[in-house]
């Protein structure tokens, strides 16, 4: 298990208990966190599970593969610390992770 905090663009916070073996996206969806759409269900096909990972945490994660990188370029409101949350697996090492969400997953 790991505690993950999602922060919406307007500042609203949602702290969830994420299950090991699920993705960060699934943790958000399982807990009805608004601001993630996950249109494709977790196959790195749609870029609507997009989140901003704090720098300190980014270093602890395996870097994105080329498929994820390609899809990040299709997301809206991309920043240097953008990741697709469906590609990040929950482990105990992620306890305390903070994920900020973009103002929109589907438009500028």
């Amino acid at each position: 298990m790991a505690k993950i905090k999602f922060i919406e663009a307007d500042g609203k916070e949602h702290e969830v208990e994420a299950q090991e073996g699920r993705s960060v996206m699934q943790a958000a969806m399982d807990n009805l966190v608004p601001g993630i759409i996950a249109e494709c269900g977790g196959f790195a096909s749609c870029a609507t599970c997009h989140g901003y990972i704090d720098e300190a945490w980014l270093k602890k994660l395996p870097p994105p593969d080329s498929v994820e990188e390609g899809m990040i370029s299709c997301a809206f409101h991309v920043r240097p610390n953008s990741r697709l949350t469906c590609q990040i697996q929950v482990t105990p090492a992620l306890d305390g992770l903070v994920v900020r969400l973009p103002v929109s997953q589907t438009s500028e």
Binding site: E39, G41, F43, S45, V67, G70, M71, S73, F76
Partner: protein, 414 residues
């Protein structure tokens, strides 16, 4: 079972319990031909959630959303690898023909991990961000089509608006010569017609493949700013696509964006023609269109899809055997009460995701383009065409098969 051999089985397979047999012919059922989606709802109310039909070579039908989601999220057990465009053609004809040398439609006919490699290059150019660039072209095309019918006060929406729009758009997207539009439209109509015999259809597919091949060859010589040029240079497992793979992609893109959008538009417009209040509401406030389009997509699903069972497996209490064919009846799942409260009602801004684009790794790659086409189409149509209704003299006509389809939709307006 021989998938879609076109013949009704004489004997039910031994492992199918008699209480799970429900005789539904998805190409010819009279109630479906009368009103396809009323039939989908009746199947939810009358048939077992998973049933076996002996028609068309015999296959299971899965009709509930949860079961379909579970199946599509399990490609190791439920495989796509047997699909070719030749078999699609046979099923559509509903006739028993020898197996054709079909084209391996990509990425449909692959399973993960090969599927992932074939699918990845399509996700970017068909992402919401990328297709937004087509908005102006869709608007222009829509208005050109409306121009031709507006003054008459009537049209057959299907043949005059719904059919030409996606074909024209595809040709633009793919980068094909628009001076061959009429020829291509004719071929597209024949490719998807239920009244064309299987041999003719196979010939039509060959012709379409021939035209696509010409375009691919031309782009190999000189790249243009289109999807075929883009795909020539992508990497699949570290190398560029082969010519056969380019054909596989092109045929999928062509067919995928054709029958589906044509019918989604037609069923949607039919609904609005029968609901003046909703029509007025959307005309007055076009910002409601995205939500309305999703609910119309739910009520009027089009495509169903098929899986082959790779090992004996129990699915929601039903024993499947290795080799069984399973048809995922997506339009019926949209009327599953457990998934959609009051499923027959049009409810703007439902929260639950509909099954029309399916789920899992094969979830429709064109859904952003479909949504954009529909949004732009309705914006222009509702703006320019006065309140329209069904022609009281001529009923709409429907067709079945893999896709629920409209073949004629006469409309009138003042």
């Amino acid at each position: 079972m021989s998938a879609f051999s076109g013949q009704k089985l004489d004997e039910i397979p031994a492992h199918v319990p008699p209480e799970l047999v429900y005789e539904y012919d998805n190409a010819r059922d009279p109630r479906m031909l009368e009103d396809p989606h009323a039939r989908m709802r009746s199947i939810i109310l009358e048939a077992p959630p998973i049933f076996f039909s002996p028609y068309n070579g015999g296959q299971w039908f899965v009709t509930r959303k949860k079961a379909i989601v579970d199946i599509t999220m399990n490609p190791a057990v439920y495989s796509n690898a047997f699909l070719t465009s030749g078999q699609h053609a046979e099923e559509h004809a509903g006739e028993n023909k020898d197996a054709q040398q079909g084209f391996m439609m990509l990425p449909i006919a692959a399973d993960p991990p090969q599927h992932t490699a074939y699918r990845a290059p399509l996700n970017q150019p068909l992402s919401a961000k990328s297709v937004a660039g087509l908005e102006a072209a869709i608007r222009t095309m829509t208005n050109e089509l409306i121009d031709k019918v507006l003054a008459a006060g009537r049209c057959d929406f299907f043949s005059e608006i719904a059919e030409p729009l996606p074909v024209t758009l595809f040709m633009k997207l793919a980068g094909m010569p628009t001076d061959r539009l009429a020829e291509f439209r004719h071929l597209a109509t024949q490719a998807t017609s239920a009244t064309v015999d299987a041999a003719t259809r196979a010939g039509v597919f060959k012709q379409i493949a021939g035209i696509l091949a010409e375009t691919i060859k031309a782009r190999q010589e000189k790249r243009e700013d289109d999807l075929i040029s883009y795909l020539l240079d992508v990497k699949i497992n570290g190398r560029n696509p082969t010519f056969q793979e380019m054909l596989g992609y092109s045929i999928t893109l062509f067919l995928g964006g054709l029958e589906t959008v044509v019918n989604a538009l037609s069923f949607g417009v039919r609904h609005l023609a029968r609901d003046q209040e909703l029509q007025a509401k959307l005309r007055a406030d076009p910002s409601l269109l995205p939500g309305a389009i999703e609910e119309l997509l739910r009520l009027y699903g089009i495509a169903s899809t098929v899986r082959q069972v790779m090992r004996d497996e129990v699915c929601h209490g039903v024993q499947f055997k290795k080799g069984d064919t399973v048809l995922l009846l997506l339009p019926a799942a949209n009327y599953d009460d457990e998934a959609f409260p009051n499923p027959e009602q049009f409810i703007l801004d439902r929260k639950e995701q509909h099954q029309t684009f399916n789920t899992g790794p094969h979830r429709c790659v064109g859904l952003n383009l479909a949504r954009l086409e529909m949004r732009v189409f309705y914006q222009e149509w509702l703006k320019r065409v006065p309140p329209f209704r069904l022609d009281p003299e001529k009923k709409p006509q429907f067709m079945g098969g893999f896709n629920l389809a409209v073949t004629s939709l006469p409309l009138v307006w003042s």
